[in-house]
Amino acid sequence: MNLKKLMAVLAVLALVLTACDAGGGGDETTPTTAVTPDDGTTTETTAGGTDTGAQTGGSLLDEVIARGTLNCGVNETLPGFGSKDETGAFVGFDIDLCRAVAAAVLGDSEAVNYTALTAAQRFEALSSGSIDMLSRNTTWTQSRDGELGVDFAPTTYYDGQQVMALAADGFDSGSGLADLAGAVICTNAGTTTEKNITEAMQAAGADFTLTTFEDFNIVLENFKSGACDAVTTDGSGLISRKSTDEPAPGDWVIFPAVPISKEPLGPGVAQGDAKWADAVNWSIYAMIIAEELGVDSSNVDAMQASPPNGEVQRLLGGEEEKQTAMGLSADAFYNVIKQVGNYGEVFDRHLTVLGLERGLNALWSDGGLIYAPPAR
């Protein structure tokens, strides 16, 4: 009996010893989370959060180039700006801004690792360094710039909150907020649109009932069913829904002509990394300048071969180019225009098809607000 007890204890000890031996052998393996994209570059999805440039002293630009992919925070639920196509790939105006930066910095517009973020998550993701760049229809405001630590890139879309109601109820494009007295106005919860409409209606001296729903699709269903007299959100959202959901042309009207709020939308980066911010800013300026100069993705090769003027030559990486001084390759902006397109092309591809007009977002030379410093 004692012998058996001894044997049992010995067997257990032997097992534990094997275990410890294997453990001490230095073969401790850690789960690898390396992803190898098919283009051959290597991605590392570091779990502990990447260091931001401000922490290490180096710029995020060098880190992104070393990493080989751009981490971009985007929206997956805003038609035209950021959504997913039938295969699950991200598409939209804001997505193309990520692609443009990736083309400029890495030479490959597809080397982007997208993270879908909610409005609440976005600034935390940016400040923690889990994304390099935020391109998620974010309004440039004083508090975000000052307190939340976001450095905004140039505004890429000038939006403004408006109201949409039924023509059958007597509204037309000349209507004002005062005409909405007594109406049930619906919007999506948790955004500044709630606050804006309340303040604007108070200023107009009109009583109204505000009803909020979780997302704008549900707001619109309630508008269509008649539960809401009017809906309010950014003008771009109203126009795109009008163009797809309106029962008959002219049934719905959008007003007031001057929006009740200013919503300059654009990408943002974490504060305090001027080199990285410059790379992002100039990727976008390059798209605007290209449109001004008539350079687009179809003629960029010809333009590069025989530039019509000095600015085109510099922009596309010819003599006296300024890109290498910024830490980018000489042909960075050529890649942007070739792979993504100029500002106008991107706008047409994603927003014109939804019924949005250039309006305020036309080039400054056409009476809009889109303006870029010269490339010289």
Binding site: A8, V12, L15, T29, T30, L220
Partner: protein
């Protein structure tokens, strides 16, 4: 008077009537038997007509964007899974279907049905089609189509019934041939539908796999015993879970994993030494020494999580502790000893294999973050959550009914705490906190964290269901087991637990259904499950704007199909096990 009761209905009365006469007579007897009954029937009929008409005109209204659904099938199915890797999801479906086919054959699911019954089913489907054609406010093409299909099915049903007549009242039609027919019809429809040829081919292969594995199951039954086949199949089903997870999330490569230097030697050492230990412990002669050894193993298994050690060894020691605790209960004879050692060897090899797989590089190119979403993720979460929660829930139930205060206290505390908080908070908490409880080198991905959270949550509810079953067992059962000289563990495993589980099947199925639907809450921790795809992603595509209603209705139908089938399957299981009858 003890006169035996004799059913004195004459032959002419049981003989089947002409179908139409039967329907009228049935209606007269059941719906219009009295004045009051007739009024009620007419009222209800009017209500049904109004409701069905409303529903149909909603579904067939011209502004419905139904084309959004077939176009986005890939999103609903897998969300952002890389297109180039879609074969993996088909392989995972194939694994499940092969197992399903084998199970259908080995459990001999679906007996036979009488031709009359079959004819009646066809007729009622036909009538449904005709009702749709009559009531739907749909384009005339759809109405004519529905009417044609309905009429054909109605006539076919009537023809079957006429031919069957009085002669074939016995059950002669195999359900499986009916299912095969349905499968073939689906196959034809798939090839008519305007979808990609690749998808058509894949779907066809899946159908063929199902049929072939069913036939294979029949062959297997002829070679091996039914009990063995069923046992192995249950094991394969359990194994299929991690296999499917690995197939869709990882690549079967071993690069960067020390297979030869660590994994193989460890596995062999555990098989030999652990096997010897278990052989001795299950011999029935171990006595006190056996308990001491089991105690040492349990302490080693728990303690090894505190010191630096390969994960493989930690898991193998945990497995050994489980086996060591179970060995005295299931051991005894030489044959039982051999089975335990074989089971142990298989368990070691499987654990080692999965550890290799988990540590290998994924080799997958994700578009972002988690690879899989949509319906696949919903299934993965629901099924893994359920399977993992089952043993935990049973343990908790036994703990709560245990006579040992420490177990009772811990189990009760756990159950009441978890049942007192919403699933959303458990998911959030799990997402943020689970990694802190694990060794530093282990980093779980969000899907695994969600599975763990769901399983832990579900286990508390399951424990209460099982406890109800345990408490419903008559005291005599316990006393009889004790009188037979069974140990407490043997009594629980062989006598009380099986009865308890059988009696709580309806409650457990209710929980399975709610678990399946509750998985949609994972959207808040950023996972793109089926409902999130249907609600947030698809209706916000520029090309699909305004399709929220269609997409949600589609989601409802899919959820309904699966939960309805789960409850039907449980009804069959209850009938088979005689729940509520003995």
């Amino acid at each position: 008077m003890t006169e035996p009761f004799v059913n004195e209905i004459s032959e002419s009365e049981v003989a089947p009537d002409k179908p139409s006469a039967g329907a009228i007579r049935w209606a007269r007897e059941n719906l219009f038997s009295t004045f009051f009954n007739s009024v009620l029937s007419l009222l209800m009929l009017a209500l049904i007509v109004v409701f069905v008409r409303g529903l149909l005109s909603y579904v067939f209204a011209e502004e419905r964007l139904w084309n959004v659904i077939p176009r986005n099938m890939k999103l609903y199915w897998t969300e952002a899974y890389p297109v180039a890797e879609m074969t993996r999801t088909w392989v995972s479906l194939g694994i499940v279907l092969v197992l399903a086919g084998l199970s259908l054959a080995i459990w001999k699911v679906g007996g036979k049905t009488a031709p009359r019954q079959f004819g009646r089913t066809l007729t009622s489907i036909g009538i449904t089609g005709l009702v749709v054609a009559l009531l739907a406010d749909a384009p005339s093409g759809i109405r004519v189509g529905a009417a044609a299909v309905g009429a054909v099915l109605f006539l076919a049903g009537q023809a079957v019934r006429m031919m069957a007549g009085e002669r074939f009242t016995e059950e002669t039609i195999h359900i499986r041939s009916v299912l095969l027919g349905i499968l073939l019809i689906i196959g034809v429809i798939v090839w008519i539908l305007p979808i990609e040829t690749g998808t058509k081919t894949s779907l066809t292969i899946q159908g063929v796999l199902l049929i072939v594995s069913y036939l294979l199951g029949g062959v297997v039954l002829r070679v091996v015993s039914e009990g063995l086949a069923r046992g192995v199949l249950v094991g394969l089903w359990l194994l299929s879970l991690p296999v499917v997870y690995l197939v869709v999330q990882r690549a079967p490569v071993t690069a960067g994993v020390p297979v030869m230097s660590v994994f193989l030697p460890s596995a062999v050492a555990f098989i030999v030494l652990g096997g010897g230990l278990l052989w001795w412990m299950s011999s029935g002669k171990a006595g006190e020494g056996g308990r001491l050894a089991a105690g040492v193993v349990v302490i080693a298994a728990l303690g090894c999580w505190l010191v630096s050690m390969p994960m493989l060894v930690r898991f193998l020691l945990l497995a050994l502790a489980t086996f060591a605790l179970a060995a005295p209960t299931f051991g005894g004879t030489g044959k039982a000893q051999k089975n335990i050692v074989i089971a142990w060897s298989v368990a070691v090899l499987i654990t080692a294999y999965f550890m290799v797989m988990m540590q290998a590089e994924t080799g997958l190119v994700g578009l972002q973050g988690e690879f899989i979403g949509g319906l696949n993720l919903t299934f993965l979460l629901a099924v893994s959550g359920l399977v993992i929660s089952f043993p935990i829930g049973i343990m908790l139930a036994l703990g709560r009914t245990s006579s040992m205060p420490i177990f009772r206290l811990l189990s009760t505390g756990y159950i009441e705490t978890v049942r007192g908080v919403p699933l959303i908070t458990v998911l959030f908490f799990g997402n943020l906190v689970i990694n802190r409880f694990l060794p530093r080198e282990v980093e779980l991905d969000n899907i695994v964290k969600a599975i763990v959270a769901i399983a832990l949550f579900s286990a508390a509810y399951l424990a209460e269901n099982v406890r109800g079953g345990l408490q419903s067992i008559p005291k005599g059962q316990y006393e009889a087991a004790k009188a037979m000289g069974l140990s407490t563990v043997q009594m629980t495993v062989f006598i009380t637990l099986p009865q308890a589980l059988r009696s709580v099947i309806p409650a457990i199925v209710g929980q399975v259904i709610s678990l399946f639907k509750d998985t949609s809450l994972v959207a808040i921790i950023g996972l793109a499950d089926f409902l999130r795809v249907a609600r947030d992603i698809v209706p916000n595509q520029p090309a699909s704007l305004g399709s929220l209603q269609e997409s949600l209705l589609f989601a409802m139908v899919i959820y309904w199909i699966f939960t309805f089938n789960v409850s039907r399957a449980s009804l069959r299981l209850e009938r088979k096990l005689g729940v509520g009858e003995r």
